[in-house]
Symmetry: C2
Subunit: 337 residues, 2 copies
Amino acid sequence: MPAEPLTVAHVSESQLLSRIFPRLNTSASILLGPGDDAAMVAAPDGRTLISIDTQTQDQDFRLAWNSGYRTTGFDVGWKAAAQNLSDINAMGGQATSLVVSLTMPPATPVAWVEDFADGLTAAIVALGAPDCSVSGGDLGRGREIAVTVAVVGSLGGLEPVLRSGARAGDVVAVAGTLGRAAAGLALLESHVPVTEWTAEQRSLADSQCRPTPPLAAGPLAARAGATAMMDISDGLMRDAGRLAAASNAVFDFDPVALKGYAAALVPVAALLDQDPMPWVVGGGEDHGLLATFPADIQLPDGFTAIGSVQAVAGSQGDGVRIAGQAADTVGWDHFAD
Amino acid sequence: MPAEPLTVAHVSESQLLSRIFPRLNTSASILLGPGDDAAMVAAPDGRTLISIDTQTQDQDFRLAWNSGYRTTGFDVGWKAAAQNLSDINAMGGQATSLVVSLTMPPATPVAWVEDFADGLTAAIVALGAPDCSVSGGDLGRGREIAVTVAVVGSLGGLEPVLRSGARAGDVVAVAGTLGRAAAGLALLESHVPVTEWTAEQRSLADSQCRPTPPLAAGPLAARAGATAMMDISDGLMRDAGRLAAASNAVFDFDPVALKGYAAALVPVAALLDQDPMPWVVGGGEDHGLLATFPADIQLPDGFTAIGSVQAVAGSQGDGVRIAGQAADTVGWDHFAD
């Protein structure tokens, strides 16, 4: 009979923290780390970017999927870090620190929490945020697992790239993947058993559970003169609609470019009897970047042109088009049914 | 028949945000407010204090209490702001911004969320954090209400006051209230109906639901030369134990001074057939400050001496005493049973 796993109900908060701290990386940005009522982080240009994001069990992830895949603490830690690092990337900045609040049922194994801490660190290191480390946090009980991360970052003296700066004539470009996280989600929710997944299928599931925002691309875009930028977390069409609305412009996408992203997803779409295009235009959580650039500059490394910005004509309103036709804004809204 | 209240299930995320934003105050510290992937906050001395704290329904507050009191959105917003402002106060700093993540069931009334936003703003204004406003947030669904706030703040060029600096011979002092939040909690959980509460009893419940950390006292203490400081969130004895451990010292409290705090709670203690002293030494959530100062300086406004710091002698270990006798570290640990 296997031994009962050690759960968080069996250890004190300070004992749990003493298991977490050694698993976190360190960075020069942290002037004062965990242990006091607040941490202190360097803000060398006198400004701090800040964002916050929560993942809740059964809303943002399942612990067990139809496919048999079980979400690990490592996955949850990685994704929480990646989503927040992406928000700083989307402004053209570089993350300097995360603070992490983890709420969980008392029956949560201590090993799960250790794995979660390892996932945070692994994402920071693998995605390329060398100035960033966890400087503090909060642990608490709840009926479900919920993770909130707040991230601070630096622009290194650059101006932030906003959502509102796209101008008619600009090129619309993306960095990172489109549709892979949604394909991975479809696979996780399918009845294709995890034990039978190919390496490519596992990689798609990883895109959902451990997204890889292109952290070099944000600062490169800011330096290259991007006029507007955001990360694609709720789907290309929905997020493009937000960028278009903030900029009072129309975004027109090139269907050939979009189909290029779908082509790589055809095999798994066939397996699941689905259409890959909705994953590309409607799937969120890849955490790539959507940006606009003046037409006369060379796109920075990692960006691919997929459309253009057009002026709003008369009363037609803001919006998103594909080859000039109105596109449904397929995506994810947290409350709309 | 009363009309069904409008719930968050009936509105989109952007509609809900458009009801929240006008209820938030503004401050000069916010260089870029909500609407982009991250906000931008001034960090004039090149450093940012940061902390994070979560409140979860049925763990940190009840929506309905035995007394019949119903926790309002205003209460939850106020307390979330106050707890976080207190963490910056405890370092000797001043808060510059909050970012707020609110997770809630779809049946949550929109009016509750509006009340929550009003509570955030009211706390910021009433407690005296004029440089602080909400710069961003996140809304999501969950089975229970959970609020996570991250706060950033500035030291204005001062050095942070740490937990580790208390030295033998220092005076131990507190600012703010002791035991009132615990008395309020006992009252909320009692069967004394809210409809029969006196003004003083209502004020005690407010100490629990809408704590009032003394935000002027932290920066005053830092400037006066406080050697160690933290906020009292988990009870005087437990938090003093943490300060003593971090400073490798022993804290000895004056029972006469402690009894002074208990005296004011005698009437409600008698009503509830309880002893007020455990509220004073063990009750948390007043969010006063516990600080140590060199014995030869005048305590800053708002601080009252309640003990002294003594050296650790031989193998006796770190700890907390009352008149030289070992004190039980009564308090709250999130996981210990």
